[in-house]
Amino acid sequence: MVSPIFIIAAGLGTAFLLGLLRDEWRAAAYGLTLAALAGTAAIAGGWLWAFAIDGAAPVEILTAGTPAPFAINLRLGLPEAALLLLANLTGLLSAVYLKDTLSHLGRRAMAVLLIIVMAMGGIILTRDLFNLFVFFELIVISTGGLILLSAERHALGAGFKYLIVSQLITILLLIGIIFAYHAAGTLNIDGMAAASLVMLKGGSLAFFLIFIAVVAELKPVPANGWALDIYEAAHPAFSAIFSAAVASASLFAVDKLLLIGGPAWLPVATAIGIISFVASNLLALPQTNDRRMLGYSSVGQVGLILTVLGQRDILGDSTLFIAGGILFSHAVAKAGLFWLSGLVAGRNLQDWSALRGQPLLIFAFVTFLAMLSGLPPFPGFYAKWELIHLLAGHGRLVLLALILFGALLEAGYLFRWFGYIIKGEQPTEVIVPARHKLSVAMIAALAGWALGYLWGGLSAHNNLLQTLPLLFALGFLLLEWLPAWIKNSLAIAGLVAWFILGYPGYDPLQLIFATIMLLGGALILMASYHAQGRRVGFYPSAMLMYAGLAMLIVAKDSFNFFAAWELLTVGSYFLILRGKHSEPHALSYIVFSLGGAFLILAGFALAAQGNSQFSIEALRQVAQPLAPWVFVLLAIGFMTKTAAIGLHIWLPGAHAEAETDVSPMVSGILLKAGLFGLFMLLMHMGKQQLYGVELTHVLMWIGALSALIGNLLAIFQEDAKRLLAYSSIGQMGYALFGLAMMNHLGWLMALMFVINHYIYKSMLFLSVGGIAKRTGTRLMYKMGGLITLMPLSFIAVLIGIIAMSGVPPLSGFGGRWIFYNAIMTAEYRLPMILIFLSGPIAFLYLFRLIHTIFLGQLKDEHRKIKEAPFWILLPQFIYVVCLMVFALVPGLALRRVDAYISQFFPQGALNWEGLTITSDYGYWSPVSIMVVVGVIFMTLFAWLLFVNRKAQKVKQFNIVFAGERPFRPETTHFAWNFFAPYRKALGFLTQPLVTGFWETLTDLLHTAADVARRFYTGNAQIYAIHFLAFVVVLFLLSRGV
């Protein structure tokens, strides 16, 4: 094995060697630089291999042939090797990336780059305090040099600010070191730790100075104004080093210091870290400059890792896994993003729309985004999972909440950024990335995936990158070049195959959900056949969602459940984002979903009490004072997905703006994931009381309110898809209500709603989508009279609304019938009022839907439109058949489930004998109803045909009009504001209170951030004062408390 001293020697030696080369031999110099960096990276890699695979013991390297602590010694273990590799690889890739700049600036710049990488190695390796200082100074100075790589005018100013603050840091650090030396009699870190420096006279103050100085290198809020200016001004390749590698090295230095400081200093580290994490993510919200925002994000991530280091007292052996997971995610992603930012000309976030049309770059971007947000299957996800579990296990709930809050903020601005890329204004210029720059970014992206695989393998859970559904979904990334129809067939085949594969293993409940999610998904995908071209991005996203769903229903433990949940959230987010104007809605969807997911995570963690291997079954055994809280967290988490009232504001836009075949997926299928979660929750946790309040009663109220408000809002929509979307809120409210009733029939009803809602909402979304496709608008009042032109769509919608409104003889009635039987035994009656009110209201919007689109006056411009495309109609008619079958023989699907529910609620099962279904209270015979209604209807129809045989068909304006004739179809079609009187009467209920609440909240956050960031005035002296204030305040705190 090559001694690690060569890493330092090679870096330095090459740097010196460069001076010997003629200034003109730039290519040679550049080659030498790359070779040196590659060599050092190889050494680090070799050691990493030795430690990780061969299990070698850490090595000590002595210098000067003298044992420590009398000479400087270095130490190389697994973390050191990994960090070294990271630093050197980042340096190498940045060097590749900087090819042109370095060649332009010459060997001096290359030498500086080499030295900064070497210095990071020194920081990581050294065990001597003063030596640490020297390497820090090297980094400071080389940073001062590398900032100048930037073409940015303001880079000089930023560098100078940095130097000024560095001076302060240096002063404190030196004073601290010398007094620490005086107190401990050694400069060796391990020696100081052994002498327990902080216990010695004068030692704690000295340590405070050292600690604060090194922590300041992590740019903690608020002493970090200079760092942000550097990020904003520096060359992105340098920022990559600065953010990914330097920060990692500094963190490792802090880690070493904490060894000296001992447990007493851990809370300090935690506090500084968490404040940085939350505050910098908050401050990042109003940023418009990409690099500055990335800077804030870097500061935040580093703060998070510092928090993790500060929690090592409870994290124990997992510290490495957790901190490493977050650190490597951060490093790879941030470096990658900075490298990408070098490809984008504009500095505004909106300018990133230039990435559009570059699938590779978008793939890389998405990878980085997911890594930063801690989404599966990347290391941050596993790390966060462990971290939250351990925190919850030790009752550090405030910290847990702050971490999740900060992470949510971060995800918020990151995904907003992604929205700009995908949906921002059409880029003015197309970027043609240089090949070397592109490959650097791609290497980072691939490294991200590799790390994901690695962390998955290291985690105690199953490696997500080895799960078949996820791989299947990711496989579509490789197939993007195929035409859409081939991919579509593959996708359908995959879904069906997975269903067949899993079929023997499903219990009835899972079977229902699996049928809807997998087979149902395949059915909706049939509508995708109508799409032309390659549809880049659609299939990976859709299949990611389906993969998540497939994994969700079979998840046995909380980890798999949560991972599946995150996957389906992300997949659906990408799907929703594909819509034309869906950017803001997709954003609020992902923010709400991630917020909900975090609550679920917190809930699971709380329930598991630190045991990260937590089977869902074990929810039953959660102990009492905790159980209701777990219940609340999980329930709210799941309700973000079912869009219960209060958490619903993402849904209308997200569903309405999605593409034609995506709307039914996200409405018909995705919402069911939330219901599935609620099923799981209630099945295992049952009724819970919090402060004497029965939580299921609260859920009932929420369900009832959702049903009412959802329906009420639906009737005032002008946009057909929005109407359907609001109706989904209402329908999910019904289902939630049924679940919360906690009796046999309530659950059966909820399941019936699951099935029904899937069928008719998918069908209606497809119909409306097809119509919108033909008419070019979704505004219902602009349509009208389409019945003659689109009769098939009309039939589908007609059947759909009859089914949905619960009018016999179609299947919706079954749901209503079960509902009435269920409420007979419900112990709590008041929410029924809302449900009873919302039932007929559903009728209002359904009528409006069919009337304003199909009936009334045909508009001129629609005279020539054709029926919806075949592939959109086909699934609709399959749904019609399903509805009919389900209406006639509901037992086909429900019977087994009924028996299954009896496990939980033995009372109140239905009797399915013969044609009549009987409950304890009533009976219902679907076939008889169908026959009776059919016979009456046909008889009367025949009679009318007989007496009315001479009826003459007239045209649309042949109507009585008070002796006049209509003016134009637009003025004759009564459609806009259809329920105006209703608005007068009950419109006050539709006040956008919830929207207002969330908007106020986000406004508040943004305003707070906007005000707070003025703290960073841009004046170097003020920054220095910030730093001093930081020191003094911390000093006073550490003395006073």
Partner: protein
């Protein structure tokens, strides 16, 4: 209960009786209304004549398939509703086709006709039709609410959803009627009843002075005849539900006639005394006056 072929003729007999009774009853009601206004009113057989005339008109037009089917839906709704509800308590045959479903079926089947009619009216392309439907649906949401609560209260009270069993539970004495055992539910339901009878002050749908005459603006000849037929069946079918749930049902046809007459009369009494509400007034009225009664009813049960 099971289906027997004999049920068909008996059901048709019920239908026949109800149609005739309804034709006479509605005329009678109009006559009573006229007497309040000191008029003679229409002849008692006038409805028959109007019906024949409308069936006998020679020409008719159609606006499209849904327009054509609307009245069919409407009448199917009325006939179906009538047949799904047992008319005479204690008579298996006059229980009609109630083996197909219980109270819930009846409650929801009410909408069948309304939906079809609304669709038919919609296809006529006449704005007044759409406005009428909009008004009707708006009012219905509020008017149905107290009724639903009352039904829920009654079902809870008797612990069954079967109409026959509810009627059975009220037998024995007048004081066993829900009217006396659960007055709040009945009060709520009767207020709701006003809303569904298309009489002032709740005749928002037709409102001849405002939107002449709402949904049926374009209907005429045999369409209108079908709807007229429904106009005599449907209120009675509805009253039968009320009678069964709240007023002890009817054990024989004379009792049936009497009770239906009296319940119908209630809406007439209110109707002749009040002018028409605006839509939002009507909605608020139901929510403010009828809804609390319904809530009291379900809370007290």
């Amino acid at each position: 209960m099971h289906f027997e072929w004999m049920m068909i003729p008996y059901s048709l007999l019920t239908l026949f009786i109800v149609v005739n009774y309804g034709l006479l009853l509605t005329a009678l009601m109009q006559k009573i209304g006229a007497r309040v206004g000191r008029r003679y009113g229409i002849p008692i057989w006038q409805n028959y004549i109007d019906l024949v005339k409308n069936y006998g008109l020679r020409s008719s037009i159609t606006h499209g398939v849904m327009f054509y089917l609307g009245p069919v839906f409407r009448l199917s709704g009325g006939v179906g509703l009538l047949l799904f509800v047992p008319t005479i308590y204690g008579s298996v045959m006059f229980s009609n086709l109630s083996f197909a479903g219980d109270l819930i079926l009846a409650l929801y089947f009410v909408f069948f006709g309304a939906l079809g009619m609304a669709l038919g009216a919609g296809e006529s392309g006449h704005p007044h039709a759409a406005i009428g439907v909009s008004r009707g649906l708006s009012q219905m949401t509020a008017a149905e609410l107290p009724f639903a609560l009352a039904v829920f209260a009654v079902a809870l009270q008797y612990q069954t959803l079967s109409i026959t069993e509810i009627v059975a539970a009220q037998q024995g004495a007048v004081l066993h009627w829900t009217l006396f055992t659960n007055p709040f539910a009945v009060a709520a339901a009767m207020l709701s009843f006003l809303g569904s009878m298309m009489r002032p002050p709740f005749d928002l749908v037709l409102a001849p002075q405002e939107i002449p005459i709402g949904p049926p603006t374009e209907y005429h000849s045999s369409y209108l005849a079908l709807m007229q037929t429904n106009r005599v069946i449907f209120p009675i079918a509805k009253i039968v539900i009320y009678m069964n749930l709240f007023f002890g049902g009817a054990a024989s046809w004379p009792v049936f006639f009497l009770k239906v007459f009296l319940i119908y009369l209630f809406s007439l009494f209110v109707g002749v005394a009040f002018p028409r509400f605006r839509v939002e007034q009507s909605i608020r009225w139901f929510l403010v006056w009828a809804l609390p009664l319904g809530i009291v009813a379900i809370v007290l049960v």
